[in-house]
Structure formats: C-alpha cells, structure tokens
Symmetry: C2
Subunit: 301 residues, 2 copies
C-alpha cells in the first residue's frame, strides 16, 4: 500500500488557506517528500507529520512554489540535530542555490545531504520495498514527474497450516518466496497450500506541472493513482496552454488514456476560491477523480 | 505615529503556531517590511496586510529564518503584476542568491527591483516623512539593525482663527512651517496664535538578532520603541552567548541603558511553548516591556 498526503494543493500564489505544492508519499515506515513549496515545514507541523522519517526528497522543477520551503526544512533538520542521511533529487541548479544559501549563513548541516541531479528519465531509487523513477513532463522550464512503484511483498505464511504440513520454520524464508516444500518422504507441500499471496503492488504517478502532453503516457500508464495538475478549468484552456499548465478536462483525458485507476487533481489557480467545478469537469471524462485537499491522505491499494 | 505589526515572533524553528521573523512598520500610507522569514506572505494573507503598499524591504541578515520568505513574496508580486518600484536593503550576497533563483525559474519580474547592499552604518532612506538608518549588531554573521525616525510634521492651522486674523490662504504653507504673519499695517500675527504644533515625531529601533552588545546603544538611544530579540531566558545565558543571541533580561538591560520608552521582545526559542516568563524576567529590569504577538500592531506615539 502507498499513501499520498497533500501538504499544499495550490498554484504559485498562496491564497484561500491553500498552500504551494508539497506531498508526502508513505510506504510502510518510509516517507518520501515530493516538492516543497514555501511553508511546507509549517504544514508538516499542522498535520503532525513525522518529518524525521523522510530520507528522500524529490523536487520536480525550480519554480519557487515547488521548492522555496526546502532550504528552511533542511535548516530545521540541522536545528533538531538530524544525523540520518538525506537524499535530494532535483534539477542541477538547485545545488548551487543551496550552497550559496548555506555559505551566506555560514551554516554546516548536522547530517549528510546527498544531491542527485535530475538529468535523464529513469530509475532514481530502487530498494526492497519501492522504486522511484523520474520522467520529463512539458513545462516552461525543465520539469520532472515521479513514479513510485511498490514492490511485490513476500507471500504470507499461515503458521498453523505450515506446522500441520510438517514444514520447519527454517524453511519459512523460501516459503515466503513461493517455493514448494519437499518432505523427506518425497511428498510435496504446494506453496499455495500454506501461504497466501501478498496484495498486488501498487503504483503512484506524480505528473508535476505540465501542459497536456501525451508523451508522458508511457511513464504513467496503469498507475493505481495519478496526480495531474489542473491549474485551470476548460474555459481557461488558452491561458493554460500559454502558461504551460493544464485544465481539469485535460488532466482527466490523460488519466483516461493512461488507463489509470484513479486521478487526483491539484495545483489550483488562486482565481478559484471554490474547487467543486474541477471535479465535475474532470468526472465527465474520467469519473474516478478527486480534488486533492490539504491534510488529507489518499490511500493507494 | 509609527505602528509595528508582528508577522512572525519565533526563532528559526517554526513551532507552537509561531513563525520566523517578520515585521511591518507603518507610517501613514507607507508600509516597510523588516525581515521576511518563510511563510511571511501567508501571514500577510492571514492578517489582511495590504502588501502592495510596501515599497521598501529591509533584511537584517542571511540566516534563513529572516529571509526565506522573500523570494516567494517577490514572485507573488510578479504574479499579481506589480508595477511599482521595490527597494530591497540587504547584505550583499542576497543579490546573487536571488539572481540564481530567478535564473533557474527563467523568471523576470514585472516591476523594478532595486537592490541596496548593506555595507556601512548610516542612512538608507530619507524622505519627507521618515528616515531609516542601519547599524551593526553582534551576531554570528554580519547583521544589521534598523532605526525608523518619523519626521516632524508641519504645524496644524486652525482655519477659523487664521481667517479671523486676516491671513490669506496663500500664506498657509509658510504658516505650517512656523512663520509669523506680517499684516500690511505692520502688525504681526504670531504663528502660535493660529497654529498648533504637530505631535512630536517618534522613532522605532529594530535590533535584529544579536548578543548583548552595548555598542549598539548610540544607535538606539531615546527610541520610543525598541524591539530586541530575547531568544532565551536568563537560565540559558550561556547558550545565548554561544549562539550569539540574548536573554530577556539582557534585552531589558539594553532598553534601560538606551533610555528607550518601551521595549518589545521577540525571536523566542521553540523550546518555550509559553512566553509569560519573558515579560516577567525583563520587567524586573525594564517595566515597560511587552512580549510581541503575531498579528498584533504596536503603536508608537
């Protein structure tokens, strides 16, 4: 299971108690921060996020509403004497900006910060439980989406059945991997008799700030949840194109063509105080859609 | 009259619904922003500040909790198509940081931004109504305080008395400057007979982040209101010294020695959830003291 918690759902100009973009992706005990607009650490306080759990931060692009909260968060980690490594994946110029900021403050961080510049589409992170890839989207400046893919978990053993079948506990690791058990008498206990498969792994695609762009479809196809920006409604389509943003209907069309299971809309223009029309417009194309709300966690099962 | 509105009263780590440092100084229709920690523009929304009125921004030093909200504010001005000139007074390295941030975003501002590096103590701004000087304080990195001095306003004419005394309206500008009126018959109308003096001009001294430092006294003496940081209470004096900060008692001692009329304490460490003790400790040395609160405006009359 993955979970996506929204810390900011607005576009650049904070308004209507909505904040610039930031999200947390949770996988078990691991937290991944995706974008970090101004005030993200304050939103983390508000929603009681355990920020020390974050070991990987992904920044889609260098418009301020996606990273102006980062330097403050990195500082705060130091003030609370963080020791754990932190990995930052972001467009290359961010390194120089942060270096200058640290230098001007005569600051040294209390923890190792590893900077990974985003340069090509592909795998950023790959561990036992999850992988994260980046892919280019179509914005005014270089901008990246991220796809989180949960790994298939080991099969679940029913210990009572395994015991009845005479399987010793030291064979359990192989059972979890799906092996059958061969008894000394030559008979076989089929794996499925004593285990259940883990739930199917899920995936989440975060499409950052982007124009309507079908080239992203291969990167997000079949995702269980797609986040796609919808800065505007369809009556502002021309403005959306000019500003390298999308409308709710365009976001829904992408979700449909990508055969996504669910769609989450965000990055709303400050000109809209009420957001109901975003869901309504998108639902005409792709019914399984929600308007993302700050402080709400969306489960991906 | 001057007015000081607190947008953030906390030290670096935002907590307890307190935010990093930012203040607004109001003089008539003019607003001056002093420091701009992360979230300042969001606090401006919260407290309904007319941000378009700000034409001068003063940044005391380049610790993030005093300027990480600035780039976002400058961006937001552009998003709302500001046209008016904006003057920024700050330590020199900030210019390079902002330039890199604008370059990474391929951004051009909609308005002229004039950068004035802080290099020596002295006058930054001097117009009809107000002057602003900067002075060095004692922090871990170069750090500046600011003194706002209201100018003496013209005398107030009582039009009824002036009319009775036979003074024509075209002499009113001279009356406001304090001149007596010489009638054609050689008799004199003393100025004080038909005018009243304007209220005495007031001044406000913002001492930024600083250790206890008596060298700042000449710059802040006789101020009607002094803001002095009090990151800690007296039982943390050693820590205060180590970190180039002050205690509430030290702040009060400075206010006393400067013969200030009133003292405002701020920049509280996040370790203190309740702030009452700050006022109590300082009041033993300097009774006219207040703990500054976010969203509150302190009048300087």
């Amino acid at each position: 299971m993955l979970a996506v918690t929204i810390l900011g759902n607005n576009s650049a100009l904070p308004m209507h108690d909505r904040h610039p973009t930031s999200q947390l992706v949770t996988n078990g005990e691991s937290l991944f921060l995706v974008d970090c607009g101004e005030g993200t650490q304050i939103q983390m306080n508000r929603f009681k996020i355990r920020r020390s759990r974050i070991q990987h931060i992904f920044i889609s692009h260098l418009h301020g509403d996606h990273y102006f909260g980062l330097a403050g968060l990195l500082n705060s980690y130091s003030l609370t004497n963080r020791q754990d490594d932190l990995h930052l994946y972001a467009p290359a110029p961010l390194r120089e900006i942060l270096d200058l900021q640290f230098k001007a403050a005569a600051a040294t961080l209390s923890y190792p910060l590893h900077f990974h510049p985003l340069e090509d589409a592909g795998l950023l992170l790959d561990d036992k439980k999850i992988s994260v890839e980046c892919f280019p989207v179509h914005h005014r400046i270089p901008c990246w989406g991220f796809r989180f893919r949960e790994k298939l978990k080991p099969r679940k053993i029913d210990p009572r059945l395994a015991y009845q079948a005479g399987i010793p506990p030291d064979f359990f690791p192989q059972l979890k991997e799906g092996e059958d058990y061969l008894r000394k008498d030559g008979t076989v206990v089929p794996n499925a008799q004593v285990t259940k498969p883990a739930p199917s792994p899920v995936s989440y695609a975060y499409c950052a700030d982007t124009r309507y762009e079908e080239k992203i479809l291969p990167y997000i196809e079949d995702a269980d949840l797609v986040y796609h920006e919808a800065t505007y409604l369809e009556d502002q389509r021309t403005k959306a194109i000019e500003r390298f943003h999308s409308t709710a209907q365009q976001a829904a069309t992408i979700a449909l063509k990508a055969r996504a299971r669910r769609l989450l809309l965000g990055h709303f223009s400050s000109k809209y105080e009420v957001l109901d029309a975003f869901r309504e417009e998108a639902a005409q194309v792709f019914p399984a859609v929600e308007v993302c709300k700050e402080g709400v966690t969306y489960l991906v099962k």
